[in-house]
Amino acid sequence: MNLDSKNSISQLLSSVREITKENKFLDLIKKNIIVLILIFLLVLGTLTSGTFLSLYNLQNIAINVSIFGILAIGQTLVLLTKQIDLSVGANMAFSLIAAIKITQILMSQFGVNIIQEANYVNSGMLTIIVFTIVVSNLIGLLNGIITVKAKVPPLITTLGMLYALRGFAYVLSKGHPLYFTYLQGFNWLGTKILFNVPVCFLFYLVIGIVGILILKYTKIGTKIYATGGNEKAAIYSGINSDLWRIIVYGVSGFCAGFATLIYSSRLESVEVAQATGYEFISVAIVVIGGTTLEGGRGRLFGTFLAAIILGVVINIITLMGLIVWYQNIIIGIIIISAVFAYIKGIRVKKRT
């Protein structure tokens, strides 16, 4: 009697294994689906407007993609550790404004006034850039420390930070936008084209590739995946999960700093309300790209492609003449559908 049931159970298990091997096949299709979607969108774009495939338009797309793509890279790491960062958009605005303020104060010690006509920044570019990255990093780390050490849920920490940072940005800038038109060379990052490819997109490629390499091929990557996948297993294996949870927030902060440099370099200005809503876009991109919210599962490459897809989608919407708010709706729908799709997938797996 014992033998019977054990045999039937192992029979069941082997048929289960066969089904899950099939799932691998489905995974392959899923990987290719993203590419298929991309191709579909390109076709759609061409049909929509004659200018879609023009160099200028494609470069536009590339520049936009690089901005939120870089944000999404940081967000991916955060989501992989089962956390979330809703403060990235606000971080973008704040870090640059704060950097300008700091530079202004520093330079005034030397009797140099970097701001003319109340709104135009005319020097101190290097310092501003450096401080932007520094500040955005620190904000990221602060998010991490509050979440991990004070055990505040990531939602609350980053939501509160979102409002706090926007507010601070307003206070520092007194609500006025700041312009970089007189700052020589500042617009290089956002507008320079090299061999027909925007420089910022090249940076995106580089950051993306470095990110993929680190996540997939180094111990750092396994530590992050393990921390998000099963924190207990990670701790048992000697991984300092607290540390890595904080580090990913730092990286997200760094990405925000970099993204805002591209953004403001391109528009040659910075203002308090810039990048509003970018946090949602970054979450949407990460979710579409296949990273799930349960932690430990997802590929940067997926995020990478998803950013391009979203960039193309937004471009097509703009070319169609649809208004900006549709973007929000689409983003919301995308987040929810991607989550639903993932949950359906998990349900199938769990049943077997």
């Binding site: 979330i84 509050i146 004070a150 055990k151 505040v152 849920p153 939602l155 609350i156 920490t157 939501l159 509160g160 930070m161 979102l162 409002y163 706090a164 940072l165 926007r166 507010g167 601070f168 307003y170 206070v171 609500g175 308090v272 809503g277 949602f280 979450v283 919210l293 208004i323 900006v324 708010w325 549709y326 973007q327 929000n328 709706i329 689409i330 983003i331 919301g332 729908i333 987040i335 929810i336 989550v339 639903f340 949950i343």
Partner: protein, 318 residues
């Protein structure tokens, strides 16, 4: 009648229970500090104004409280306020009353949608309401094509700026609804189910509680109350804009946590939230009156939320 007596008899218990008592102390403390920095804080005009604003964000906070008590989060309340205001606003041609009714109905519906998606679809409430925040907000902008609607109709303005016997309408509505919620939560079976579900969802399920229905109810009320707060706000500012509700979720959370609602659900009292709202309102009032810019306010609001959570959750957890 005997029931009423029993209920009244248990009131002192509630007031004297630790949390609420502490909140009273904090409120008095804040008022004293306010008196020092802002001498005219107790002038009737100011107090009424503060209470007026408190009532509006407080109402949203009550709705959020019910969701929090079941152990979930609703960060779409701001967008629900915007969208329901805007949809109601497009019916102004039929009269203000129909418009108001449509507003409330829309809010209720949006809340129900949230609830059903979260319970049946098994999506985490955090993500679901993050999504609906975007969707509802975007829809609001589309419906008005980004423009604002200027209000001259009586009911809205009355809701926002009117008073009865010098008591502002919003205050009446807020206190009325809060008290109803208080009794509802404390003395009905559904109220108990809400607390139990938040305290331990699994045990509630094992005990036969219909946790899905309870959660849907909670989200519906959250949407409804957000929609009810909208017209009062619109009446004050005399217009309906598609981004009217932005930032309300932050204040709602802050007030709820300040009022002693447990982050993980299952614990906390509406009385605490009422006092929390008053404290929050006066805090903002003091900041505003002492010449601190509105944006510093915003900064502090954000920081306040974090600080409140850290402090109160650690105290409660003890």
């Amino acid at each position: 009648m005997r029931n009423l007596k029993n209920i009244l008899r248990s009131l002192p218990n509630i007031v004297l229970s630790n949390n609420v008592f502490i909140l009273f102390i904090i409120l008095i403390f804040i008022l004293l500090i306010g008196k020092i920095f802002v001498p005219h804080i107790f002038k009737i005009i100011n107090v009424l104004n503060v209470l007026r604003i408190v009532s509006i964000i407080g109402l949203v906070a009550i709705g959020e409280t019910i969701v929090l008590l079941t152990g979930e989060f609703d960060i779409s309340v701001g967008s629900i306020m915007s969208l329901s205001l805007v949809i109601g606003g497009s019916f102004l041609g039929f009269g203000s009353i129909p418009a108001l009714l449509i507003t409330y109905l829309t809010g209720l519906t949006l809340g129900v949608i949230n609830g059903i998606a979260i319970t049946k679809g098994k999506v985490r409430s955090l993500i679901m309401t993050l999504g609906t925040l975007s969707i509802y907000g975007g829809l609001a902008s589309i419906v008005t094509r980004g423009k604002a609607i200027y209000l001259y109709g009586l009911p809205y303005l009355w809701l926002g700026r009117g008073s009865i016997f010098r008591i502002p309408i919003p205050v009446l509505i807020f206190f009325g609804i809060s008290l109803i919620c208080f009794f509802f939560l404390k003395f009905t079976s559904t109220g108990r189910y809400i607390y139990y579900t938040g305290a331990n969802e699994v045990a509630a399920w094992y005990s036969g509680v219909r946790i899905d229905n309870i959660k849907i109810l909670a989200f519906s009320l959250s949407g409804l109350f957000a929609a009810m707060a909208g017209p009062m706000f619109a009446g004050q500012t005399q217009r309906i804009t598609p981004i009217q509700g932005v930032g309300f979720e932050l204040s709602a959370f802050a007030i709820a946590f300040l009022g002693g609602i447990d982050l993980w659900g299952g614990k906390g009292s509406v009385i605490g939230v009422i006092i929390g709202a008053i404290i929050y309102g006066f805090l903002l009032n003091i900041l505003a009156l002492s010449g601190v810019g509105t944006y510093i306010e915003q900064v502090l609001k954000g920081l306040l939320l974090i600080v409140i959570v850290i402090i109160f959750q650690n105290i409660i957890r003890k």
